[in-house]
Symmetry: C2
Subunit: 343 residues, 2 copies
């Protein structure tokens, strides 16, 4: 039996959902991976909990002040860190210090927040390479929608020629409201904010930065590129006019905010902006909370995925998918075949 200690840093809705789901799946980890997975530490920005024997779900509401920070994680003896703090793509956010410390110390790491990955992608990859730690990030790259999985697993061996993705649900909601019910941007935004689909400061979504962040994570960590946020041409949906809406209706096309990667010579160019799709393109059907990605490769043609899932459960499940891939790697990479016979 493999003994595996996990810490969760960042303990808002997603961090808590991840900890809870991990505890629910302990029996699975024993049966499928031969791993005794213990949650030894959790922490938010000011408080946390530690128990070397493993925390249980009923204790997670009473955090103790001061138990927080990268040193707290290191002291907990965790083998694996799950980082779920608030995202700040301009500074890296609190996740940056957690990821930097964990990867430096050779701790396998699962990132859920996007900030550090977007801000410091290259140094984090370099740290992981040097220490041999695994760095996974399914929860940060469109969560339940497989994106990095597709290029690194399902299309492994193929050369990626083109990527386009509908990666942000808020802009889906706004564009739907504008095209289907004739609202202008300001009206659609007020409605989305009233219903809780858009934040009080919605610019991260509406100006395209959330889409750009997910695109960058896929490009840099999935495809091994080295694109900085400043290299991405980002246009959001705030500038959509009545004339645009009328034109799209007349042409029978659906607008979507899309992040895309296109080959330009030997490099790939990254771009975020509105593209329109005819009714016979599956992208025209991707609305509401759904996200989608289309990847074109040399040998497998076009592969398209559409997915969503209820949050925060879906993001927690994405992070814990990463955890199982780490368990397989820690067991020497051959667990997969054993798994087939156990499942």
């Amino acid at each position: 039996m493999q003994d595996v200690k996990v810490a969760v840093a960042g303990f808002g809705g997603v961090g808590r959902a991840t900890a809870k789901l991990l505890l629910e799946r302990r029996e699975r980890y024993r049966a499928v991976h031969g791993a005794d997975v213990r949650l030894v530490a959790v922490c938010g920005s000011r408080a946390g909990l530690f128990d070397a024997d493993g925390l249980e779900a009923d204790r997670l509401d009473a955090l103790e002040d001061g138990l927080t920070g990268p040193d707290f994680v290191a002291t907990s003896g965790a083998d694996i860190l799950i980082e779920a703090g608030p995202t700040d793509i301009r500074t890296g956010g609190p996740g940056l210090a957690y990821l930097t410390a964990a990867l430096s110390e050779g701790r396998d790491t699962i990132a859920i927040s996007k900030g550090a990955l977007v801000h410091s992608g290259r140094p984090l990859r370099e740290l992981a390479r040097r220490s041999g730690a695994l760095l996974k990030m399914s929860g940060a790259a469109a969560a339940a929608l497989p994106t990095i999985d597709l290029v690194q697993h399902s299309l492994l061996g193929c050369t990626v020629l083109k990527v386009e993705g509908i990666l942000n649900a808020t802009t889906n909601f706004l564009l739907d409201a504008m095209t289907q019910r004739g609202l202008d941007f300001a009206e659609a935004l007020r409605e989305a904010q009233a219903k809780g689909f858009a934040e009080a400061d919605p610019r991260n979504d509406t100006q395209g930065w959330d889409t750009a962040a997910k695109l960058l994570i896929l490009a840099n960590f999935g495809l091994g590129l080295d694109i900085a946020l400043d290299d991405v041409t980002v246009t959001g949906i705030e500038g959509v006019t009545r004339a645009d809406l009328e034109g799209w209706a007349r042409d029978g096309v659906a607008p979507r905010l899309v992040g895309s990667l296109v080959c330009e010579g030997d490099a790939m160019r990254a771009e975020v902006g509105i593209r329109t799709y005819r009714a016979d393109d599956p992208f025209a059907l991707v609305s509401g909370k759904n996200k989608a990605i289309r990847i074109v490769t040399d040998a497998m043609g076009e592969t398209l995925a559409i997915g969503a899932g209820t949050e925060p459960l879906a993001t927690a499940a994405a992070a814990l998918k990463d955890l199982e891939h780490i368990l397989i790697a820690r067991a020497g990479g051959r667990t997969a075949s054993t798994m087939e016979s156990i499942l």
Copy 2:
């Protein structure tokens, strides 16, 4: 540098395409996986070739009589077998003897033909479990469309509640011709045969057996179920009437031949038959050579994939994706993180 010897058994269009693509990718295997991959043996039903130093592409047109069979593969010293022979789901076909021998001897194995997997799924899994050999089969389970990948990798950890798949291109073509151009089944079939989209004896496709075979492979090898072909309720498209076509047109729905798995108590029931989809369902847009799968899980909601690719290249690429996953496992499962920095 890892030294890896590969044999390809079954040397029709797909086997040849796989051998050719493998030779083209040798430099990639060195750079990404640190593996010197040599093609040491190929064989069809009556003839083959062997070279311990590795065969080159220009020699693959001059096979030598008698060099064939499971013993030939064993004698070649291959570490990995790729099996691409003709499919016979009722007997297992020639692939059965190749897979049985290879897995018994602990050789990692990649199946492309479906016959043996459908006919003898349980004993083959048991052989692999006992010898520790890996058994992969992306090329047999809808090739470029990720199916087993989704449940075993992208949705790992989740409980699969429902699966439905459009897994056969010939029936797509026939249903399109019938619904969009008003042909009856016999007319559509004659046209498909004339254009090379349907075989002279089309029953494997039109009666739903090809769909059933792919569904079974996903169920048994992807989900760890134990369903026999006789347990699957299989209805094809031969019985479609003018009245059906008129009803579908009236209702504005698109018919697709679908293989599905549905929870029934603790078990899953497998079924192949026509289902209809409204215009706002992506399945309604899956036509021509495209295939599609929709998987519903407890924690990640609904995940849908659509894919195709030009044959036989796409199937060859699917088999060689399996090869790279085997290379990663043989290297101890941690190559994936190194790969990120090399790509």
